[in-house]
């Protein structure tokens, strides 16, 4: 024990002996130069902290929250059945089934048809999210490759391994322009909104002239159709290789089904 204490003292003394005397003034000066030119990050706590208000106001707010919660709880209990079973509205529960195949197919078909036709694809898109602020508007490669070659056809297919309802349903979209293929990955958000995240990469089909590096990803939002359907060109493009089975028995079984379907369809 005594040797432990002696060793502790040895370390303390060694640290004190090797400690510097003080922070150089130039460091402080440089620091203050930076702080004077930078702003504080104001979170909700910071905003609340800056508000000049009597102390009872936050307490009053807390009480209001409690009262609101009680009212909501009572309201919730009032819609329970006589046997005590709670009834929930269908909209409150998260949908347990994937989006309708027809819905996805129609949307992607129309979107890709417009891109091949060279017009109207913007109607399906709106850029959203911070990730796109540094990117591009309109999105790149919408109607043609980087060399300007227009697309002559397109196809899409679901991507296996991204499970519903735990994440996103992914679609790999390919647009062909001669020997060049533009491949984009879209994600159908699980909350049934048609918000898609798109990542773009492209290569020449023979792979000899692989362009390699994917373009910077950006977020797009694929909207529901806003224009008259008759106005858009009807080009049969889709080559849907897999359907979307309902998922009553869990995601693993659905994944197995998808893999079997993929093998069956080659």
């Amino acid at each position: 024990m005594a040797s432990n204490r002696k060793f502790d003292e040895t370390i303390s003394t060694w640290l004190e002996d090797t400690a510097p005397t003080g922070l150089p003034q130039r460091v402080l000066a440089a620091t203050f130069e930076r702080t004077r030119s930078s702003r504080q990050q104001l979170g909700w706590r910071g905003v609340l902290g800056r508000l000049q208000m009597p102390r009872f106001i936050p307490a009053l707010g807390g009480a209001a929250v409690v009262v609101m919660a009680a009212v909501l709880a009572l309201n919730f209990m009032s819609v329970s059945g006589p046997g005590g079973t709670t009834t929930t509205s269908p909209s409150a529960a998260r949908p347990a089934t994937p989006p309708a195949e027809a819905q996805v197919t129609e949307l992607l078909n129309s979107f890709l048809a417009a891109r091949v036709a060279g017009e109207g694809a913007e109607e399906y898109l709106s850029i959203s999210g911070d990730s796109v602020s540094h990117c591009c508007n309109p999105p790149p490669l919408l109607y043609a490759t980087t060399s300007g070659a227009p697309y002559d056809r397109a196809e899409f297919e679901p991507v296996l391994g991204i499970e519903w309802p735990y994440g996103y349903t992914a679609f790999k979209v390919r647009l062909f322009a001669g020997d060049t293929v533009v491949e984009q990955l879209f994600f159908w958000a699980a909350d049934n909104h048609l918000e898609l995240v798109q990542r773009v990469r492209f290569w020449n089909r023979d792979r000899a002239n692989h362009r390699g590096r994917p373009a910077r990803g950006h977020a797009l939002q694929l909207l529901r159709r806003r224009s008259d359907p008759a106005r858009r060109p009807s080009v049969g493009l889709s080559r849907l290789r897999e359907t979307f089975p309902p998922d009553p028995g869990g995601s693993r079984r659905a994944a197995d089904d998808r893999r079997r379907a993929a093998r069956r369809l080659g």
Partner: protein
């Protein structure tokens, strides 16, 4: 008084923050330099920590914990510096050893062994050693400061101390082994 300064700095008062930073600068720099064993890296770490402190000050819940929070920022900044260099123990430059007339730690050789033992420690272990043996914080205080469980702080302190002790003992064994060989 200090609490008032912290509150003022939280509301964006630059002068209040500069008073706080100036008063804490020496302590923070000493801790950073002892952890990093490099004056340049320590200066960068302290500057980064103070800038982050200014930017994140509105999110500090309890003004009374300002000092502990500053230490936490400095330790994190030290870790960042170490990560940037990747090889913490190799890249840092040891402090010059100065023989002191009031040296009660034993020979200069002991200091060298302590230095080598310390350099072999991981950054988080170094931080705990410095905060405990130099700054005088208990394991519980260090745990709260760094946001780690108290057991983790104790464990890091224990292993760090044992590693440094082992370095000294290894040094003590070497001369006797040499004597045995020559005998």
């Amino acid at each position: 008084m200090r609490r008032d300064l912290v509150e003022a700095a939280r509301r964006g008062d630059h002068e209040a923050f500069e008073v706080l930073a100036t008063s804490a600068g020496d302590r923070l720099y000493a801790a950073a330099r002892l952890i990093l064993r490099s004056a340049d890296l320590a200066e960068d770490a302290v500057q980064e920590a103070l800038v982050r402190a200014w930017q994140q000050l509105p999110s500090l819940r309890d003004p009374d914990r300002f000092d502990a929070w500053l230490y936490r920022l400095v330790v994190n900044a030290c870790a960042d510096q170490g990560r940037q260099l990747r090889r913490w123990s190799i890249q840092v430059r040891p402090l010059p050893l100065e023989a002191s007339t009031s040296d009660d730690t034993g020979a200069v050789a002991d200091r060298e062994q302590l230095e080598r033992g310390f350099e072999r420690l991981r950054p988080e272990q170094r931080a705990v050693v410095v905060l405990h043996y130099y700054s005088g914080f208990s394991a519980a205080e260090i745990a709260r400061m760094l946001g780690i469980p108290e057991g983790t702080a104790r464990s890091r302190l224990h292993y760090a101390t044992e590693a440094m002790r082992a370095a000294l003992q290894a040094d003590a064994r070497q001369p006797s082994a040499a004597q045995n060989r020559t005998a």
